[in-house]
Symmetry: C2
Subunit: 421 residues, 2 copies
């Protein structure tokens, strides 16, 4: 396709999405839930063609020499399809935030003002590899009455098309307005750029993928972008910490699922407890296969499995069984280190000192700041949001776990009896 063909195809999808968003705004919660369940049924009914489409992507991935981890992310089977359908049904079961009254008050002149939650409008989702993002993102956006334009990676194009066709067909049979969920059917890279410039028809873009993808979208986009950047998460073990608790939280934060953004990357230890804490922790880390990159002060206390950290380590998201460790003189240095090297994602203090806990939670500039708990709890499910589209590292509109409410905007309704100024 030529660049102008791509541009006009994207523009056409944008205009259709805008029209669909007005139709979506008229659906009741019950209608939306019925549609979501019909989408789930259709995924199950079409498992054979979806898996056939997926096998094309898998064959291409192998001939292109993709890594085992990449191929595993692409792969669908009956169990994964059942999980995808189940996720759609769970979104149907969640409460609908649209229409919720956020505030209401009356002015001295008698005007009544009501602030209500409304859909954002049209949301663009740009993602890589995992085909389940097609249905996960579309269902959360649809539950909040938003139209979506999905742009998946070329490596999953056949799977994404089959999944999108299934939710469109199943949904439309149950009353889904046409063009509510559109997948860009071609894989030309220029489509990302044309989406990012089309602020007349896309109100928000959420890139779901690596830093390179997010950076590209941020550099081009004219509309708001909510970013889910890296998690360079910290645990600070204070002088008064319960050291057994500290070891348990550090190991859980690092090793329970090291490949995710809320996993621990850097441990800060108060100098007064280094000598007593390191032996307890070191054994646990070794038992869990965690390698340590320690600063010069800490290194002698983590002899086995430890090497000297470099400056680069303090801002690295390993996403692996590697932990950087630094000894600090106290809470001031800990807070400064986190605000300098962290990614404003998740940070935890382990302490018995309530005053230090308060200072840490107040002064660390991150989305979620914890006291005596694992960093792994920064998660929409763990927060009780039911589902999440991601964990925002932004400070505008949505910060931290982003559930259904964060996929909404608001408007003001004003009720008068003829008031003028």
């Amino acid at each position: 396709m030529t660049d102008s063909e791509i541009q006009s195809a994207i523009l056409d999808m944008g205009q259709r999405a805008r029209a669909a968003s007005h139709a979506l705004n008229k659906l009741s919660t019950e209608q939306k839930n019925t549609i979501l369940r019909a989408m789930a049924d259709e995924i199950v009914a079409r498992s054979t063609p979806i898996l056939t489409a997926n096998s094309k992507d898998l064959a291409a991935a192998e001939s292109n020499g993709l890594s085992k981890a990449m191929i595993d992310r692409l792969m669908l089977d009956d169990k994964r399809l059942a999980a995808i359908a189940q996720a759609l049904r769970e979104v149907a079961d969640l409460p609908d935030p649209v229409g919720e009254v956020l505030a209401e008050w009356t002015r001295p002149n008698g005007l009544r003002i009501r602030k209500v939650r409304v859909p954002i409008g049209v949301i663009g989702i740009i993602f890589e590899s995992r085909p389940n993002v097609t249905t996960d993102a579309a269902s959360l956006c649809f539950k909040t009455s938003n139209a979506t334009i999905l742009r998946g990676g070329s490596e999953a194009i056949h799977s994404n098309r089959a999944l999108a066709n299934a939710i469109q067909a199943g949904g439309e049979r149950a009353g889904l307005p046409p063009d509510s969920v559109q997948l860009i059917p071609f894989t030309d890279r220029a489509s990302v750029e044309h989406m990012a410039r089309m602020d007349a028809h896309i109100d928000l873009i959420i890139p779901r993928g690596g830093k390179g993808l997010i950076e590209k979208v941020v550099a081009t986009a004219r509309m708001p972008v909510i970013k889910h950047y890296d998690g360079v998460c910290h645990v600070f073990v204070d002088a008064s910490a319960d050291l057994e608790m500290a070891a348990r939280i550090v190991v859980n934060s690092k090793a329970q699922k090291p490949g995710v953004c809320n996993a621990l990357e850097t441990l800060l230890i108060h100098q007064d407890v280094l000598a007593s804490f390191a032996p307890i922790l070191s054994a646990e880390l070794q038992a869990n296969g965690v390698q340590v990159r320690a600063d010069a002060t800490s290194l002698p206390h983590f002899q086995e499995n430890a090497t000297l950290a470099t400056e680069e380590d303090w801002s690295t998201e390993y996403l692996d069984l590697i932990l950087s460790v630094k000894t600090v003189s106290g809470i001031d240095e800990a807070i400064q280190h986190i605000n300098r090297y962290g990614s404003r994602h998740t940070d935890t203090i382990i302490t018995k000192d309530e005053l230090n806990a308060h200072r840490f939670q107040h002064e660390v500039d991150s989305a979620v700041v914890m006291h005596n708990a694992s960093t792994r709890f920064n998660d929409g499910g763990e927060f009780g949001f039911g589902a999440e589209i991601g964990i925002s590292t932004d400070k505008l509109h949505a910060r931290g776990p982003m559930g259904l409410a964060e996929l909404c905007s608001y408007k003001y309704l004003v009720f008068g009896e003829g008031q003028v100024r």
Copy 2:
């Protein structure tokens, strides 16, 4: 200055602002209010040097042939300085939204989660002409513990510098952390671009000015931008409207202050009341000096002062005593017209039909949708927000009147007793 000198000067200001934002986060509400009052006192104390600086801008404006309206916007005198000082004191008197608990709940595992309002961090304000934006914007951002980088227009540079110096000096004597309020002291255009790219040190940019300025910032910015675009506001007079009320609201919305974004631009009249409503309204519009641009159906009913409207009129913000008028077949056409040509700012229905009022308020996709009230009430002061930094036409983060709460972000504090996953 060379481009790289400008870039490094802006980067230096950004780093200082980030450091200042951490210091600001430690001030109590009382400390902030004392500082705001000291800023006000210093404005009054320095009235002579501020007015001298202002006279330089005025002389330049005259020799550059600026319009009378532009020169009036630039002009300061003792009365305007007193109003600027008074506005600072009023911001001191407003409640502080920082630290407010927005929600709090406990999870089944015992984790307590608290969502609290926090500052955004560093806010960039890019503005034109009016020097009072220097102190207005800085004081609202400061009250919410944000650091600011201000970039005013070259035509007001002497006035802006004098005002910024006054609030810095007055503020710092009362405990304002250095670099909390910085004004870019030079007028090179490239400074806007360098600000817009510095997402590491500026968390949000608010452009205050014309469409050209906003477009430029949107096209370049890597961080969120909250836009205050035009207001193409509508009143729809339904078949069941109280026509006396309708005339009163239309005239007030259009003529009470035509040069502002919440003024009425397009009137939609239900065809069933055109013949009865137009004579009442026409006389009132003439008495207020309002010219009409009417569609072919309406035109014969607005003979005097009326000309035929063109397609362009439906999307024009006149900011003047001009009103476009269109007759519609009913509420469906009214809603469609507004969602197509409007700017999502402020729209009003005049009707006795509660069902139509509900449909209009639900389906019109605008920040503020009113029933039987003047469009002029979309205003932070009229909403009871005490002060506003503008009226956002965006749907993310802040929509409609933007008060102190909208200059804040939030964070989650999580309280545990050693929980792990």
